[in-house]
């Protein structure tokens, strides 16, 4: 489904991501882990077009994404969430979802400006869809609250719901659990599993190792912009390079 070959990004003379290769197959849940500054979020930005790769290719269903605009890539089926909580702050929870359902069904300019019958029907579809997604993520009761008034955990989940509204085939989650308390982590992981079971392929960046290892079938480990390991959670956990990357090489390390 997603195939990354030789992906490289230089910021000035500094390489943030260097000759990265990995693939995500349809229906998989893949984890992307690594210490801070390893290039995980840069990789997300390169896949989704927010940054342009210096070198290499990103193939999605056979098409090269390098050079495409983020909104085109989103329309093709790759939708990402952001590390920082990102919602539309001036809207209520429901309005957030309605705005996010913009993609489908698409309403043309004149249709919308003139309030045609077909546009009104589509608008009702959008509203139904927004309600359905809110129920799916378990936020149905909060629909009329102003989005900024939500507790942190729910803001993050709203961010995921916004991404879902864009109908992703491949969902890129950038540290969805960051800043959550233990209870919120459980709820959020349940939701991510539910999204995956419903058929969305997932690529997950996460620092919560327990959650990432427990959920993903395959893990890709980055350090200093390069892939240092790839495999099942168990293989990765026992990998020497991975342990060194996380814990450093001590003087008396074997």
């Amino acid at each position: 489904m997603l195939e990354i070959r030789g992906l490289t990004k230089y910021f000035g003379g500094l390489s943030a991501v260097s000759r990265l290769d990995f693939a995500v197959r349809e229906g998989e849940a893949v984890g992307l882990i690594g210490p801070n500054g390893a290039g995980k979020t840069t990789t997300f930005n390169l896949i989704t077009g927010f940054l342009r790769a210096t070198n290499g290719t990103v193939l999605f269903e056979g098409k090269n994404l390098v050079g495409q605009t983020p909104h085109t890539i989103a329309t093709m089926g790759i939708v990402r969430t952001f590390q920082a909580t990102s919602i539309f702050p001036g809207f209520t929870v429901l309005q957030n979802l309605v705005a996010a359902c913009y993609l489908k069904p698409r309403i043309g300019f004149w249709e919308a400006a003139l309030h045609t019958v077909s546009s009104r029907r589509k608008e009702k579809d959008v509203l139904d869809q927004a309600h359905r997604i809110l129920e799916f993520v378990g936020m149905g009761q909060m629909k009329d609250l102003p989005a900024p008034s939500l507790p942190h955990g729910h803001k993050r989940i709203l961010g995921i719901a916004i991404a879902l509204a864009a109908h992703p085939k491949l969902l890129l989650l950038d540290e969805p659990l960051s800043g959550m308390n233990a209870g919120e982590v459980v709820v959020a992981m349940e939701l991510i599993k539910k999204i995956w079971s419903a058929g969305t392929t997932i690529l997950l960046i996460e620092h919560n190792m327990k959650a990432a290892m427990g959920f993903c079938q395959r893990i890709v480990v980055l350090n200093f912009g390069q892939k240092i390991a790839e495999g099942s959670p168990k293989e990765v956990r026992d990998n020497r390079d991975v342990i060194q990357a996380y814990l450093g090489v001590g003087d008396h390390a074997a």
Binding site: H71, A74, R80, F82, F88, F91, A100, Y102, V126, A165
Partner: protein, 318 residues
């Protein structure tokens, strides 16, 4: 509540149509016409502003529209009504031409390039003397042609009253169009772009095109106001609507309240009446204007539109 508001709006519109029965002085009508033009500008500026882009070149777009209308009529003999529409279209077209590069710039950088664009328009109008008449501008611009249906009626645009009605109709056209757009899903998309453009982009909204579309529509109405002004005033000069005028339009929008649709309308009406009310104070006029603007900014940061609610809570609190 909504029915009440619709009824109130209808009453207001009828009152505006009947106003020339009471207000007959040519000077008063002139103030009303200029007020209408200010309403078109401040409301259309708000559309661009609501996309997170503050244009300070709105006066330039107006000048561009005015020159287009004036030149088409005086040099090419195009029909006056067509030229009025062409002035509006010229504003939109210019916005489309510069839009894609401009919207790559955010915040103050976008504002600056719009100032430069307005300056370029002014300089071209000043320097290209053979075409534009230089600093003297273009004069003797004819007003709109008489509308006549043989034997039934005819409306000639010679008196102030007729221009008052023309302005009123164009203001209503502008406001209805802007309101319909804002309430549609296009408006919702525009709001989401303003709220967080990278989030909107990440879920598939073409944010650059959305911003350009808003810039084009906003500039369309600035061009329309320009065409109307030059036909009304019969003369247009390069600096009639310069940076200072763009700042006034911005002040109307902000002091009125940019978050509400009615904000720029109320701002333009009250603040363009203010100098007239303060006229007996002669040279102190600008102080009154400045003082009111500063007071509103401090005590009603969301604009004059919030005044009734503020008063109600103040009175209700006692």
């Amino acid at each position: 509540m909504d029915k009440k508001r619709t009824a109130l709006t209808c009453v207001l519109i009828v009152a505006l149509f009947l106003l020339p029965l009471v207000v007959t002085g040519p000077y008063q009508l002139h103030v009303l016409i200029m007020m209408g033009i200010a309403v078109i500008l401040s409301s259309s500026l708000r559309l661009i502003f609501n996309l997170g882009q503050l244009s300070l070149g709105h006066g330039g777009m107006m000048t561009f529209g005015a020159y287009t209308t004036a030149l088409l009529v005086t040099k090419l003999g195009v029909s006056t009504w067509l030229a009025l529409g062409a002035g509006a279209a010229a504003g939109a077209l210019l916005a489309l031409l510069v839009g894609y590069p401009f919207v790559r710039l955010k915040g103050i950088y976008f504002s600056l390039v719009t100032v430069f664009l307005a300056e370029v328009i002014r300089l071209i109008a000043e320097q290209w003397q053979s075409l534009t008449g230089g600093t003297m501008g273009i004069s003797n611009i004819p007003g709109p042609d008489t509308i006549a249906i043989h034997g039934l009626f005819s409306i000639a645009f010679a008196s102030k009253v007729s221009f008052y009605y023309l302005t009123l109709i164009l203001v209503l056209f502008t406001l209805i169009a802007l309101y319909a757009l804002e309430r549609s899903r296009i408006g919702l998309t525009w709001f989401s772009v303003r709220e967080s453009d990278f989030l909107a982009e990440s879920i598939g909204v073409d944010t650059a095109s959305s911003k350009v579309l808003g810039f084009c529509i906003g500039s369309f109405f600035a061009g329309l106001a320009g065409g109307l002004y030059c036909q009304y005033n019969s003369i247009i000069t390069p600096s009639a609507f310069g940076f200072a005028y763009a700042m006034y339009v911005l002040i109307y929008m902000i002091v009125g309240g940019s978050q509400k649709f009615s904000g720029p309308i109320i701002g333009a009406i009250i603040l363009s009446l203010l100098p007239e009310v303060a006229r007996p104070l002669k040279e102190y006029q600008p102080y009154i204007f400045g003082g009111v603007v500063i007071l509103v900014m401090f005590f009603l940061p969301r604009g004059l539109v919030t005044l009734p609610r503020r008063l109600m809570t103040l009175l209700g609190g006692r």
